[in-house]
């Protein structure tokens, strides 16, 4: 809902707020179900490319894809960005890196937060692994974040 506060000192603030309930369909659904089971699924296109996260179509051609294959839960950082001051809605509340990670067996990269102590601890090409949340519900945040391989 939206609550309109009274006008004070020339400003009014309001929050555009609404819960959405999204139906996810078979392929996104399978991917999210996989996350709940601590597995990452990719979709294999006719050309043999393994797309992660799984899509119900080949992103290059639009052709339908239904062949889902598991990929590894560790991989290589293809690019990254360091967030010195996280926004209130970011996955981590301390400085962190975003990382696009090509998981083992995938041909594309999956975005998530990478939990490292400083900008000096992250580099392109480094190996990282998924840190799974203990309580998983079939949602992107079932992946808590990435962490350097071998951590914890």
């Amino acid at each position: 809902m939206c609550s309109t506060a009274a006008v004070t000192s020339g400003e009014s603030t309001y929050t555009l707020e609404l819960p959405y309930r999204r139906s996810v369909g078979p392929v996104v659904g399978a991917f999210l179900t996989g996350l709940r089971d601590a597995t990452v699924l990719g979709s294999r296109t006719a050309a043999g490319r393994v797309i992660v996260p799984a899509l119900e179509y080949d992103p290059d051609t639009g052709d339908e894809v239904s062949d889902l294959v598991p990929v590894g839960s560790a991989g290589v950082v293809t690019t990254w960005a360091w967030v010195p001051e996280p926004l209130r809605k970011h996955p981590l509340d301390r400085p962190f890196a975003w990382a696009l990670v090509q998981l083992d067996g995938a041909d594309t990269s999956l975005l998530h937060a990478l939990d490292v102590g400083s900008i000096d601890d992250v580099s392109t090409g480094m190996r990282v692994q998924i840190r799974w949340r203990a309580e998983r519900q079939g949602h992107m945040t079932d992946i808590e974040c990435y962490e350097p391989e071998g951590a914890s």
Binding site: L16, P53, T79, A81, T108, T124
Partner: protein, 353 residues
């Protein structure tokens, strides 16, 4: 294709102090100025098209309020895209191609300052995989910046040089919001927004609007001393999810640029929607623009970034270079979506003497 020219352009002064007006109030003088400069009466306009986004305004059907500035009584032939005004210009240009009408009014507008742009633009992300992470557009741009630096061997100083040049160019632009006689060293002293992008590599949050009048055929020469003829106009999109793409190139810009004939003859001036410093590197490469090309003499989006009007402003600025007789062949570029997902290229030429 039918000859169509940009015959007038107007823009709102952007400001770091957010405007208190409604979007329509902000648009009104801009549209009025573009109309006045065109010399056309309102009833001579055959088609009107605008670009804006509800989520910037924080209100469903926000664009309906903007119809007010057109004086849509008696009724007008009109359409709206939920895109940057540059795509409204494209729709209008297509409409002119079909021969139904001979002139068009185009405008784009947005009040970015109303919300937190880094949160609002997260809603552009796919709802299942990206949106839940609140991966904001600055963070996504920084991922692409890192990929570009890794691939090209360039460094943060190269980015700062671009940003400093834009800031210096903007000193001469009365509509710019962020301008200063700064050096790369000054900008390298600024903190990271999201590394490798420093605050100076990122655009300001701007409220703004732009308007353009298009006229087809010889009528354009009657109303404008130096019409800016649209010689090429195309746009392309790529897969959405950044992890699917090669972030070290802008493939959709390359395709649009080729289709628009950018490389047919030299470009004098290019106004690029490079909101982040590294995007200029990507766009220059994708469009084949050499060092001789004057890029963003207005300062570009790093000087003022009125989202939903930024792209149309680029085309307007590119046209102005021809209107003023400063250039004979220019380029305006617009972009949309995370990491330059969608790109539009407009090639403009003056009459050759």
């Amino acid at each position: 294709m039918r000859d169509v020219a940009v015959v007038s352009f107007a823009q709102a002064p952007t400001s770091s102090t957010p405007v208190s007006d409604t979007e329509a109030q902000m648009l009104f003088p801009v549209v009025a100025e573009a109309m006045e400069r065109s010399g056309l009466r309102r009833d001579e306009i055959g088609f009107t098209c605008s670009g804006s986004a509800d989520y910037l305004a924080g209100q469903s059907f926000a664009f309906v309020g903007n119809l007010e500035v057109t004086g849509a009584w008696p009724p007008i032939s009109e359409s709206h895209v939920e895109m940057d005004g540059a795509w409204a210009l494209y729709e209008a240009w297509v409409h002119l191609q079909s021969g139904h009408v001979d002139s068009a009014l185009v405008f784009g507008s947005g009040i970015s300052s109303r919300g937190d742009l880094r949160e609002v633009l997260c809603l552009q992300n796919d709802p299942y995989y990206l949106m839940p992470l609140w991966a904001d557009h600055v963070s996504l741009a920084a991922l692409q910046a890192r990929a570009v630096l890794d691939a090209t061997g360039k460094g943060e100083r190269d980015l700062a040089e671009i940003a400093a040049r834009c800031r210096r160019s903007a000193v001469a632009n009365p509509f710019a919001q962020r301008f200063a006689d700064v050096t790369a060293d000054d900008l390298l002293a600024e903190p990271y927004a999201v590394a490798p992008l420093r605050t100076g590599d990122c655009p300001p949050v701007s409220d703004g609007a732009a308007a353009v009048v298009l006229v087809a055929g010889d009528r354009a020469r009657e109303v404008c001393e130096h019409p800016a003829w649209i010689r090429g106009l195309d746009h392309r999109i790529e897969p959405h999810y950044p992890g699917l793409r090669d972030l070290t190139v802008s493939e959709s810009t390359r395709l649009a640029g080729e289709a628009a004939g950018v490389g047919d003859r030299p470009i004098d001036v290019a106004e690029l929607s490079s909101s982040f410093s590294h995007e200029e590197l990507l766009l220059r490469a994708a469009l084949g623009l050499g060092d001789a090309v004057d890029v963003n003499p207005s300062g570009g989006p790093l000087a003022a970034n009125p989202v939903m009007a930024t792209g149309l402003t680029r085309i307007g600025e590119a046209a102005r270079q021809i209107h003023d007789g400063h250039a004979t062949r220019t380029l305006g570029h617009a972009t949309s979506g995370p990491c330059l997902q969608q790109n539009l290229v407009c090639v403009l030429e003056g009459d050759r003497s």
